[in-house]
């Protein structure tokens, strides 16, 4: 448990305002969570894995005040990681994990056109989880700033950036997979 002591030490210093300790802490946690998620979920797609890692460290950041300094930090990190993994799996389950290869014939005929068919992008937008869709439409269609979007959706700028990035990645995957 040497590692856990070091993590606890880093986090203690981070909570007291040591920025470098916080960065080191998050980097090590990201490594742990990546290993844990890879082992537990056997994700084929590395970007799904990174999604979980990022979700988890975002949650750890948002809930860092819930670590009690007199408690071991390993179970705390593990609990948050598990919470986020279950969440991710549930969301995936409820969306039914449609593999793009299964619907590619229905979506669009192959097109030689370089630009992407509009309805395909619309379909991709519709398939986004609600939060991501709201972020994308606020940022692109309504042309709002990240700060504005964050305050409108009652979340942080970091979370908006992450959601936007994921949405773009998903659209890219959908559109790219079909053409």
């Amino acid at each position: 448990m040497r590692d856990e002591c070091e993590l606890a030490d880093l986090m203690t210093r981070a909570l007291d305002g040591d920025e470098r300790a916080y960065r080191a802490f998050l980097e090590r946690v990201a490594g742990h969570v990546r290993a844990l998620a890879r082992w537990k979920l056997r994700l084929a797609d590395p970007s799904d894995l990174e999604d979980i890692v990022q979700e988890t460290i975002l949650a750890i950041h948002a809930k860092r005040h819930t670590w009690r300094r007199d408690r071991p930090i390993g179970p705390w990190i593990g609990a948050i990681a598990r919470h986020k993994m279950v969440d991710q799996m549930r969301r995936r389950g409820s969306r039914g994990t449609v593999d793009i290869d299964d619907v590619v014939d229905v979506l669009a005929a192959p097109s030689d056109d370089e630009t992407c068919p509009r309805d395909l992008i619309d379909a991709a937008l519709v398939s986004l989880p609600r939060g991501q869709r709201l972020v994308v439409s606020a940022l692109t269609i309504e042309g709002r700033s990240i700060r504005e979007t964050a305050s409108r959706l009652g979340t942080t700028e970091v979370a908006v950036r992450v959601a936007f990035h994921r949405a773009l990645a998903r659209i890219r995957a959908l559109v790219g997979g079909a053409s």
């Binding site: 975002l58 809930k63 819930t66 948050i80 970091v158």
Partner: protein, 213 residues
């Protein structure tokens, strides 16, 4: 976004945002008690005129044994469940304490009362008012607890919500018991617990939505 970039922005964010205090279940419980007393003062505005005599009555005191044991157990579960690690399953057994208290009181009453008095004690003289007042007095504290849970990180928001509802209801019932003219454990087990159960259900439903993270 690459994970390193995310870490960089989170590090910057940690510097910017003020340090947040640890979850606030205890202050919420104290504020909730105060709120219940205020709502009681507004809704009812008086305690029993015969309170001095009632204090010597075993049934009157048993009401507080029920509500206070429930409040204590619910508080223990709520506080522990507000953290990501969650409540250990064995710690949930603390909820058996108020259950045993209620059941013993009911058994005592059934043994003590003549058969024809049972229905009268159960229905009491005040059941609807009790149901309404305990519910209304509990809603404010419940709101405070759910907000506290939102700042915390409950492993199972619905479970925390149930504990929050039980605590809010138990606090409201404790305060209301000082007024309520019905002292029979049969009355308490029926009407008090009905109101508290309603708050627990409401707590579970709202915490699932509000305290998700």
């Amino acid at each position: 976004m690459r994970t390193e970039d995310l870490i960089a922005s989170l590090t910057a964010d940690a510097k910017r945002s003020a340090r947040r205090p640890a979850p606030t279940i205890l202050p919420a419980a104290l504020a909730g008690t105060l709120l219940a007393v205020v709502v009681f003062a507004v809704l009812v505005g008086k305690i029993r005129p015969d309170i001095a005599g009632a204090v010597g009555e075993i049934r009157f005191l048993l009401k507080f044994a029920v509500t206070l044991s429930l409040a204590g157990a619910a508080y223990a579960v709520l506080r522990e469940s507000a953290y990501p690690e969650g409540v250990h399953r064995r710690r949930l057994l603390v909820l058996a304490v108020p259950a045993v208290v209620v059941l013993s009181c009911v058994a005592f009453e059934l043994a003590a009362l003549p058969a024809d008095a049972v229905t009268r004690s159960l229905v009491g003289s005040n059941s609807v008012a009790c149901l309404v007042n305990v519910s209304l007095m509990g809603i404010g504290p419940l709101g405070l607890f759910v907000l506290a849970l939102r700042r915390a990180a409950p492993a199972h928001p619905a479970l925390s919500g149930i504990a929050a509802g039980l605590l809010a209801g138990a606090i409201a019932a404790t305060v209301y018991a000082a007024y309520c003219p019905d002292d029979s454990p049969l009355f308490v087990a029926t009407w008090y617990l009905l109101a508290i159960g309603g708050l627990a259900a409401l707590g579970a439903a709202t915490a699932r939505v509000v305290a998700r993270w």
